[in-house]
Structure formats: C-alpha cells, structure tokens
Symmetry: C2
Subunit: 190 residues, 2 copies
C-alpha cells in the first residue's frame, strides 16, 4: 500500500470520526496530508470509494483488535470491559467509532457502502458473541441463550454511549454507563 494513500486514509479516518463522512471534505484531507485535492481524487476517484475503503480497513483493523481481546485471557466480563475500553479510547479525542458516525449518516450513503457497513456490523457482533458464549459456559454472565442478540445489544449500547458521552458527560459518563450494563449481566450479583 502506497504511503500517500495510507496518509490520505489516516487523515480521512480522523476527520470522519470527528465530523462524520458528509462534513468531511477532500479539501480538509488535502490540507492535512499536504497533497493537492486532485491527487486525492487520483487515489480515490469518488468520495464513496474513499468511505468504502475506510470502512473495509476499519473492518479488518478493529476486527483483529476485537478478536485479540476475545481470544485472550480473562473472564467474559473482563473481556466486555476491554472491548468497551476500545470505544472509550477514541472518545478521549472527541472521536466516534467509524461504524457509528457512518451509520448516523446512513441515508446519504450509496447502496454498496451500506452493504459493507452492514457486513461490518454483523461480523463485529459475531466476534462479540463469542464472549457471551464464554460467559454462559463459565457461568460468569447471566444472559439469555441467544448470545448473538446480547452481542448486538452490547455493540449498540457502545455506539450510543460514545455518542451521548461526547455530547454530555464525557469519558466518565461512558465508563459508568458501561459498568451499569456489564454488571447487570454479571452473575455475581444474583
């Protein structure tokens, strides 16, 4: 992968996380990277291309991060907290998860981008579900048997908590809300 191409993607990713895909412009990327706007069009002819590549990259990078947590050591509740930490991290720079910002602008997206987004969410939920399976097996989580639904609910919560925390309450509120959700699943309290 070309160096400039990567720089463009990095700058675009940061912008999208800050202001969303619609408010992000090639002009801003141009200023951030230090190449002309036309050069960005050379690498990503249409903005939709850029957003799609961004989504795909995010799909791989964060998929691996989540998998590393899921396949690592620790109890299921520990792993849920580690997954939440990934979202708390971005929040420190007032940035949202790529999937979150792009989903918020869903109705302005191309059909192809929506499909990639959908797949990304489905696979992320699939990875998260492994933790709930572990929680059921080791008895650390008191959740319903359909672990996919729990994983989907947890992922949805993380998206929303990031958005509301940025608008009101910050990282502290995000953490306490996360603790509320995870502890309600923990078996110890029963």
């Amino acid at each position: 992968m070309n160096d400039t191409k990567t720089k463009i993607l990095d700058a675009a990713e940061e912008l999208v996380q800050q202001v969303g895909p619609n408010a992000m412009s090639y002009q801003q990327i141009s200023a951030a990277v230090g190449v002309r706007k036309a050069s960005i069009h050379h690498h990503f002819p249409k903005k939709e291309n850029l957003v799609e590549v961004l989504l795909s990259r995010c799909h791989v990078v964060y998929g691996d991060r989540y998998k590393a947590i899921v396949d690592g050591t620790g109890t299921a509740p520990d792993k849920l907290r580690k997954l939440a930490d990934v979202f708390a991290e971005g929040l420190r720079n007032e940035q949202l998860c790529l999937v979150g910002t792009i989903s918020a602008d869903l109705n302005t997206l191309q059909q192809s981008s929506r499909m990639i987004l959908k797949t990304t969410i489905q696979e992320t939920v699939g990875i998260f579900a492994v933790v709930f399976n572990q929680g059921l097996q080791e008895g650390s989580l008191a959740v319903a048997k359909c672990t996919e639904e729990n994983a989907y609910a947890f992922f949805s919560f993380l998206l929303g908590a990031q958005i509301s925390a940025r608008a009101c309450g910050g990282v502290q509120s995000f953490r306490s809300a996360t603790e509320v959700i995870i502890s309600s699943w923990e078996n110890s309290r029963c």
Copy 2:
C-alpha cells in the same frame, strides 16, 4: 406560533431525522413546505437558529411524552418498554431521534446548540431515572442505587440501538436488543 413557521419546523425535523442536520438544506425544506428559501431565512435567519428551535421543541414535546409514560400506570419494566417503543416508532420510517442525529454531528455545531443538546439529554435522563427509582422501590428492577447512571445507560443504549438497527437488522433487531437490556435488569430472572 405561525402556521408556515410550524410547517418549516415539521419539514426540517423530518429531514434532520432522515439525513442529519448537516445534510439537511434550506432548499429541501423549501421544496417540502412550498415556500421560497428566502422565506425560511425570514423565520430562521441562520441554520443554527433553526436547529436550536428544533431541539427546544423536541425537548418539550418528547419530554412530555416521556413524562406521560413515567407518570402513568404499570411496573418499571413496563415503562422502560414503553419508552423504547417511542424510539422504535421513528425507526419504522428510517428516522432517528433528533437528539441522536444532532449528537452525531456534534463537532459541527455552535456552542449554544451544544448547550441546548446537553440540557436536553440531562433532563431526559432525569425523567428516565424516575422509572429506575420506581423499580428499586417496588423491587421490579435489580439495579445499582444510582438511578441516574442507569437512566443514562438506558438512554445511550436507545440512541445506539436506533442507529445500528437502521443500518442493520431493522425494528426487529431493535426490539430484541431492547428486550435483552431490560430483562437483564428485571428482578424476576434472579
């Protein structure tokens, strides 16, 4: 309140719920309402004015709806389900809660708009918290004593679930995720 002014607000609200405040334009409102763009500027000189009035109206209207549910009859879990129904309703037309879409575009907002948004979230969470208090008193909810944190977590979840459901899964996924969260708080399962 003037008739045209209300029509403008209604059209703007629908557009914001569909595509967010940034992608919503005076041109689109003009087409929807049937008045010229300049006339919209007559009622709302700057776009930020419009967004702020929209937020304030949403604050009042939905505040009343939430209060009606909270002050009504039923157990705490019932009321949480009714609150979730309000969010499920908008989702049927691929529309998000105003607070959700506007929060997603937070970094492109004026400081004054952010303050209104923050207040709206805080007061909404305050209303939601009453349900958790009820749940503690009647013993129907097994939650930590800080009901504000639970209410904040629940509100955050609803925002996120609406966004992810629109992108992936639809109303059905929204409902099952909501059930996962509420039932994890219900005391009956312990």
